[in-house]
């Protein structure tokens, strides 16, 4: 994990200026859980992402602890009991835009982007395919996507006491503002 982060930094920073990699240091990923008992949402506004327009490579890296809940106690349970943030502090996605020929990063517009890759949550890596959008406005590039994640598939155990409060399927929303430096 540490090696990967270092690699990301090495890859991202020195070459950014001349290879036109798009970087986001404060991207926003949030999830939403709906049950008849309660709705829960948590926001992570410090997601790091690197998008390479030339190759379509796209990577996300976030700290589980940076998810903010409205209730402090809920955040505590999320980190300590569900996600085991001490053992697995990060979550990552590495993938590729598969319809790169349909996206013109030099021309303003909103493009449909198909992304395929591997999502790692709670030390479990699973393939993920998502259709999202990429919006180009001059120098500003914003990527948006929505997908469903199932806690069970990532070996996240929900204690029986709160089982009814947490949805089986969690809606995850991604909003990444990129800049080229």
């Amino acid at each position: 994990m540490v090696a990967r982060t270092i690699l990301m930094i090495i890859l991202a920073l020195p070459y950014m200026a001349f290879s036109q990699k798009l970087v986001s240091r404060n991207g926003h990923i949030w999830f939403y859980s709906h049950t008849p008992i309660e709705d829960i949402e948590a926001h992570n506004r410090q997601v790091v992402s690197i998008l390479e327009p030339a190759t379509g490579d796209i990577a996300f890296n976030l700290l589980i602890r940076s998810f903010e809940f409205r209730k402090a106690l809920m955040q505590e349970h999320f980190n300590e009991n569900f996600m085991e943030s001490d053992k697995y502090p990060k979550s990552t996605f590495e993938g590729k835009i598969t319809n790169l020929d349909k996206i013109d990063f030099k021309k303003d517009g909103t493009y449909t982007a198909e992304v395929a890759g591997n999502l790692t949550i709670h030390n479990v890596t699973r393939p993920l395919k998502v259709t999202g959008t990429i919006e180009v406005r001059g120098n500003l590039v914003t990527a948006r996507a929505k997908f469903i994640a199932t806690p069970q598939e990532y070996n996240i155990t929900i204690p029986a006491v709160v089982e009814k409060n947490i949805a089986k399927e969690i809606e995850v929303t991604v909003e990444m503002p990129y800049s080229s430096n």
């Binding site: 540490v2 982060t5 404060n26 410090q46 700290l63 209730k71 106690l73 990060k90 503002p177």
Partner: protein, 140 residues
């Protein structure tokens, strides 16, 4: 009889206090939590960044989940759908301290790039930058 009544009264009052404490504890809001909590560590932004760059594990054991008051130079201020991100960064370093603020706890007109600020927040770890959550401006 009167003695028994007094016991019941005392018991009821204690039960009410306990219920109120439990309610406060369960429903305490995350926001109020950080701004009102005692600062654990006061440090300059470059020193905090350097600690994580040098050894992430030992820095985590020192700073993770701690309320940190960090002073530094504002590199940039950006807005997102929930509030603002203030990026404390020195010109000559590759990473900095990324501080996220809720909209209600930040006035962007008072913080400009290049100015010096003191930010209080909860340290959640390190990716490209050290991350502080639920921040408030301690002093400008």
């Amino acid at each position: 009889m009167q003695k028994k009544f007094r016991y019941i009264l005392v018991f009821l009052i204690l039960a009410l206090i306990a219920a109120y404490a439990a309610w406060k504890y369960t429903f305490k809001e995350s926001e109020s939590n950080v701004a009102s909590r005692k600062t654990d560590i006061t440090i300059e932004a470059p020193a905090l960044v350097q600690a994580f760059e040098t050894n992430e594990d030992s820095a985590n054991s020192l700073y993770l989940e701690k309320i940190i008051q960090v002073s530094g130079t504002v590199g940039s201020v950006s807005e997102d759908s929930l509030g603002y991100a203030v990026y404390l960064k020195d010109k000559n370093s590759l990473s900095g301290v990324m501080c996220s603020f809720d909209r209600a706890s930040f006035d962007p007109s008072r913080v400009e790039p290049g100015s010096h600020v003191i930010v209080k927040g909860l340290c959640t770890g390190y990716l490209l930058d050290v991350q502080l959550n639920k921040c408030s401006v301690a002093r400008q």
